[in-house]
C-alpha cells in the first residue's frame, strides 16, 4: 500500500545513492588496507591453523571496518532502490571511482593527470544525466 500520492519522482533516492558512494569509497579503501594486512597462512587440512586465521580475520580492523561500511552502504542502497529505478540508480555508484581516485592521491600517493581529470569529469557528467533521467522516468 502506498501512503504517498503518485507525484513526479523525487530526487531523494538519487541523493541516497550519492550517500552510498561515500560509504562504498571508504569501504574499498579500508578493504585495500585490509587485504594487504599480514595474515597467518590458512591450511584447511590442518585444523590448528583455522583458529589463528579466524582470530586474525576479526582483528583485521581495516577489513572489519570495510565490511561495516559496506553494510551501511547496502542499507542505504536498499532504501533507495525501494523508491527508485534500478537502472538509473545503480550506475550512480560509479561516483565511487571519483572518491576512490581522489582519496588514492591523498592516501597512496597516486598522481593526478589529464586522463584521470577527464575521466572524473565524465563520470560526474554521466551521473548528472542519470539524476535528470531519474526525474523523467
Amino acid at each position: 500500500m502506498q501512503n504517498t500520492t503518485p507525484a513526479p519522482r523525487s530526487r531523494k533516492p538519487v541523493y541516497m545513492v550519492l550517500g552510498c558512494t561515500v560509504f562504498a569509497a571508504a569501504a574499498q579503501i579500508m578493504m585495500k588496507y585490509g587485504a594487504t594486512h599480514a595474515m597467518p597462512a590458512l591450511d584447511l587440512n590442518n585444523s590448528a591453523t583455522v583458529m589463528p586465521f579466524l582470530l586474525a580475520l576479526i582483528t583485521n580492523y581495516p577489513l572489519v571496518l570495510g565490511y561495516v561500511l559496506s553494510a551501511g552502504n547496502a542499507m542505504l542502497l536498499i532504501l533507495a532502490l525501494r523508491d527508485g529505478q534500478l537502472s538509473t540508480l545503480y550506475p550512480i555508484i560509479s561516483l565511487t571511482f571519483v572518491w576512490v581516485n581522489l582519496l588514492s592521491i591523498y592516501l597512496f600517493g597516486d598522481h593526478m593527470n589529464l586522463w584521470k581529470g577527464v575521466g572524473i569529469l565524465l563520470v560526474i557528467t554521466g551521473v548528472g544525466v542519470l539524476g535528470k533521467a531519474s526525474e523523467a522516468a
Binding site: 500500500m1 502506498q2 574499498q28 578493504m31 585495500k32 585490509g34 587485504a35 594487504t36 577489513l63 565490511y67 559496506s70 547496502a74 542502497l77 536498499i78 532504501l79 532502490l81 525501494r82 529505478q85 534500478l86 537502472s87 538509473t88 545503480y90 550506475p91 555508484i93 560509479s94 571511482f97 576512490v100 581516485n101 588514492s104 597512496f108 597516486d110 593527470n113 589529464l114 586522463w115 584521470k116 581529470g117 577527464v118 575521466g119 572524473i120 569529469l121 565524465l122 563520470v123 560526474i124 557528467t125 554521466g126 551521473v127 544525466v129 542519470l130 535528470k132 533521467a133 523523467a136 522516468a137
Partner: protein, 118 residues
C-alpha cells in the same frame, strides 16, 4: 614503482561485479515489501541480495590483493552494464537514450581514469 596487475585479479573483480549486479536485482526485489513498513526488511529475497552482495566482496578482496586499484576498479563497470540489462528483464524498466548515454559517458570516464592510472 611498477605494479603488475595479473589477469586473474581482473577476472576476479569482473566476477565480483557480475555477482554484485544480481545482488542489486535481489535487493530491489526484497525492498518492495518494505513499502508496508521497515519490519518487512527480513525477507528471503533481500537476504539473498545481501548474501550476493557480501559474497561478491570475496572475489573482490581476492582480486584487489594483487595489482593496482586504478586498473582493477574500472572492471566494476561491467556490473553497471549488466544491471541495466537485468533492470529491463526483471523490472521492465525502459532502456532510454539518456540512461544509455549516461552509461556510455560513465564507462568512458572509468576507462579514462584507468588509462590515467597506468
Amino acid at each position: 614503482m611498477t605494479v603488475v596487475t595479473p589477469l586473474s585479479s581482473v577476472l576476479l573483480v569482473i566476477s565480483a561485479s557480475v555477482i554484485g549486479s544480481f545482488g542489486a536485482v535481489f535487493l530491489k526485489l526484497g525492498a518492495a515489501p518494505m513499502q508496508k513498513g521497515l519490519k518487512y526488511i527480513l525477507n528471503g529475497r533481500l537476504l539473498f541480495g545481501i548474501a550476493l552482495y557480501i559474497g561478491s566482496s570475496i572475489p573482490f578482496v581476492m582480486g584487489v590483493r594483487h595489482g593496482e586499484l586504478s586498473v582493477l576498479y574500472p572492471m566494476v563497470s561491467t556490473g553497471y552494464v549488466c544491471t541495466m540489462i537485468w533492470s529491463r528483464i526483471f523490472f521492465g524498466e525502459p532502456i532510454t537514450m539518456p540512461k544509455l548515454g549516461a552509461l556510455l559517458i560513465i564507462v568512458a570516464g572509468i576507462i579514462c581514469i584507468n588509462v590515467g592510472g597506468r
